[in-house]
């Protein structure tokens, strides 16, 4: 069993909880970048709500620090709050999307310059499908899946964050992965890309 290193930001978080505004600004400067990246991953890089959702997540973090028990690092905690805030925002926006029939996250995406155009297109399509799935799945399963895929949380870390037994997380991840596999296999554009150009 590994020993967790001391958390550099814990003192800052405690100062925020005591009402220190300077500490809050410094803490947000430290963890804000990570939170912003997580929100982008969940929402889509060019989603128009990224800034506002990140702001919501930061405010949620500041509110949650009063009850933060230090069960994870502050940075992990902040990223988890960002992820859950963004998932919630996507779900709320889902109704609006149904009416407009437009998914802003589908408008992304930037490609890593080490990827070929085809690999970029495949990765982008898979991200879009995963985000759609996160909107559709029951919330506990979606959260477990997002924590696992986007934040690279282990089962034990998800269990601790969600206050549920590890076996429950296993079950949720299994259901989520099955649903993801079905969705990926059923997607015609993705299949076409993976098949390559027809002759």
């Amino acid at each position: 069993m590994s020993v967790r290193p001391p958390d550099d930001l814990l003192g800052l978080a405690r100062a925020v909880a005591r009402g220190d505004g300077d500490a809050a600004a410094t803490l947000v400067a430290e963890v804000g970048g990570g939170m912003l990246r997580v929100v982008r991953k969940v929402m889509g890089h060019r989603h128009p709500d990224v800034d506002d959702v990140t702001q919501d997540a930061v405010l949620a973090l500041l509110g949650a620090l009063e009850t933060f028990r230090g069960s994870s690092t502050v940075a992990h905690f902040a990223r988890r709050i960002a992820l859950l805030t963004a998932l919630g925002a996507r779900r709320r926006a889902r109704v609006r999307r149904r009416e407009a029939n437009v998914d802003p996250s589908a408008v992304e995406e930037i490609a890593g310059d080490d990827l070929s155009p085809l690999a970029s297109a495949v990765a982008s399509r898979r991200r879009t499908l995963v985000r759609q799935l996160l909107d559709e799945l029951p919330q506990p399963i979606a959260e477990a899946l997002a924590l696992h895929f986007i934040l690279d949380h282990t089962v034990d870390e998800i269990a601790e964050a969600s206050s549920v037994p590890a076996n429950t997380v296993w079950s949720r991840l299994r259901l989520g992965k099955q649903a993801l596999r079905r969705k990926l296999e059923a997607d015609a554009p993705l299949a076409e890309m993976l098949r390559g150009p027809s002759r």
Binding site: L12, D20, D22, K41
Partner: protein, 292 residues
Amino acid sequence: MTAHDCRSELLVEARRGRLSEPGRLALDAHLAACPSCRSSYEVSTDFDVADAVDLHDGARIRALADLARGRIGRRGGSVFARARSVAAALIVLGGSASAAVWWWRRPVPSPTSAARVPAGRPIEAAIRPRAASPAAVATTPTPEALPVRQRALRPAARAVALARPIELAGAAAILQQATEARQRGERAQAADLYRRLQREFPASPEAMLSAVPLGGLLLGDGLPRAALTEFDGYLARAHGGALIPEALYGRARALGRLGDRGEERKAWTRLCADFPDSAYAQLGRHRLTEIE
């Protein structure tokens, strides 16, 4: 092993760069046999690519930090604490050379606070205060006069637009011009300005910092060897410099383009080890799995 009893800890360990050689072999064998885990690995990696930073992220985080200060209640704070917040916001995500210069020219902290900075992670160590001292709280007014509630409700995009520009002069002005030219897509002009900066102000911190964006331009123009020279020049001079992750990232990519797998692996490994939370580390971990 089926999709029902797969344990994905190996995947997580691999993505965190902590997998031993036997663990990697076990993972490879498992991925070859398990479509479910293979799909999981691909999906996780897909999201790494979506981890890019944006040119205006520094301003975004600065606005968020200001919002946080107002939201928590106690107004003001020491000028130095504020400087650290803003520089952290600008440097950590923006990778902005201008921000790094601004940090470089910050008010010098007291020996007491400097002594608290641990070695090992230069950027974070340089900009990270370990705790905000209540005794240091001063009466610096907040940058915006809006009531806290209004500020909290204001769209974040507007807060970004309101972020104040950094005043620059001399060598910094050339750096700023070069940065703006680069942002406009005028690559040749930007490269000329960076070179002019290095020629006219060779001893300035701006000149040293300019090596990193210039290296990026050269790399983009298909000149990996020239780019490598720029990145290495920065790394040789910048002891604890703010753009070390960017320089390492550029060096690794340049070596990759040159086909030097051994040195490329070392560069990515150093980047992942020294800056595990940087946006580039995830790309590095991904790349390491490709070339190993």
